[in-house]
Symmetry: C2
Subunit: 277 residues, 2 copies
DNA sequence: TTGACAACTGACTGATTAGTCATTAGTATA
DNA sequence: TATACTAATGACTAATCAGTCAGTTGTCAA
């Protein structure tokens, strides 16, 4: 393997595990067993390396997909090959792809990752309950449907990103069209792909609505407020929640106070859900 | 607005336009009209700020979606509200979202962006031709179908990322299942969303297969090779392409030489397409 | 063996940036 | 007005890192 290719592939590996900005040229050359100077004989700059890596993998992907599709005997088999080849490539480059397609993961703290997982679970539950309600006869499809719905959103939102300046999207028409498509799939699909074993055990939504978490959220909210009245309202809510007999009228009033400021929405939402239970 | 909230929202704006790493604390405080010290009275570190921003927006999104779904009178309307609310949020935070969901855009050179657009066009054309072949009766749906296919891929691949360690995916079953779902939508969908005016004019695939571009690719490939025989093969191909009468036997032999090394795939692919025309 | 040339090295430079802290400005109270 | 306290400042430090270049090593032809 040429030195240039060695650097490129080693760097791709490091970028995939540590992130791009967190990987210094020194670390790349160390991993290659060469000096820093040698690096600059192959690439003019770190930027050029990054661009080369992207270019390198995009070419590989494009070639393989095109070839694979052309090998299909029938149109249907071509479509099959297209899907199959793309997922094979993703599986092969899974770590690298995850960095280039969602670079942000690197600096998420362990705590935030857990929190995000909770939010995600919450949203999944929401959509799954909705699907069960809508298509009770397609219960075995709801995990596939949930993924497909997310896929719809991702596909059309990426299209929105690209056209951000051109046309204002007619969101009502889009939403209507996606409801139609969701229903079509729910009523006609035969073979679900996601099986029960493949589903992560859901961490319960309740983890978000513990007294402990609400008190923590109260602290966070407090630090965002500068209005003394609102700050006191938050404090009073925490006092009431911790007392043996929270008084409904006080809670109601305090929530009314907070509802004037959108920053408080999340906190109010949690408190209300907590009261309901 | 409290100082903390001011910093958070200003920083979110700056991150959205310049990227996270490229935005220094100094720039944030300048934009807020406060000193650097004041920043550290509100946030312990830049990392805490980043985490707070994510947390802040995730909470906002989760609250709004949940509320909006609950307002739906029927299950179907709830699904509609779900789609509608998500797209509204995306449209509202479009720049911020694009940074957090695909941070890499910041360091892409203008040249590479154009190249990527070409690759993208190439892949779109591939899938659009395929769809026309498969569903000639659904011609007015192919742009929606192309987006949906990308959405399927994005949805299931994200699921793969999460389960990377758990189960090896059965890619054949997945591909089969997606062919089925694609066909279901193609045959049953009534109202396309993407209209003709919304489609960007395609830059032609030919831009990739010009002699000029192939010569440039020859240079790139050359720099990745250390085997003299392969390097010479590349050189000979460029000579032949520039001569008035390229000799088929030579081209064929040189391509055979190169085909032994996967690094040459893309170059071979371009040269073959060029010869075909 | 010598000389010429290319490949390679790693200490060094200059620029940038996160985070600190001694000092100052502002404000409320007595 | 004097005092006490908090909020805010910005020059400074320490660390990192991309990129350079004077010098070294390896190679091959004469």
């Amino acid at each position: 393997m040429s030195k240039k290719q060695l650097i490129l592939e080693t760097a791709a590996q490091l970028f995939a595990t540590k992130g791009i900005d967190a990987t210094s040229v020194q670390q790349i050359t160390d991993a290659c067993g060469i000096s820093k100077g040698a690096f600059y004989l192959s690439f003019k700059s770190k930027d050029e390396l990054i661009i080369s890596i992207i270019d390198y993998f995009v070419k590989d992907v494009a070639t393989r997909i095109d070839q694979s599709v052309n090998e299909g005997k029938s149109p249907e088999q071509k479509l099959y090959n297209y899907y199959y080849q793309i997922f094979s490539i993703i599986q092969e480059h899974i770590t690298l792809a995850s960095v280039f397609f969602k670079e942000h993961t690197q600096f998420l703290s362990e705590e935030l990752i857990q929190k995000m997982a909770l939010y995600d679970t919450m949203m999944n539950k929401l959509i799954e309950n909705l699907l069960l309600e809508l298509y009770p006869q397609s219960a075995q499809h709801i995990y596939d449907l949930a993924i497909i719905i997310k896929g719809f959103i991702s596909g059309y939102s990426e299209h929105m990103f690209q056209k951000a300046n051109a046309y204002p999207y007619d969101l009502q028409a889009l939403s209507k069209s996606l409801v139609e498509k969701t229903t079509i799939i729910a009523t006609h699909a035969k073979t679900p792909f996601i099986t029960k074993e493949m589903i992560t055990l859901h961490s319960t939504e309740e983890a978000l609505i513990t007294l402990e978490n609400i008190l923590q959220e109260a602290n966070i909210l407090h630090s965002y407020l500068d209005d003394g009245l609102l700050q006191d309202s938050v404090t009073i809510i925490t006092e009431q929640l911790q007392s043996s007999q929270p008084r409904a009228a006080i809670m109601h009033g305090m929530l009314a106070n907070l509802q004037t400021n959108p920053v408080c929405n999340w906190f109010c939402y949690l408190v209300k859900k907590h009261i309901e239970n």
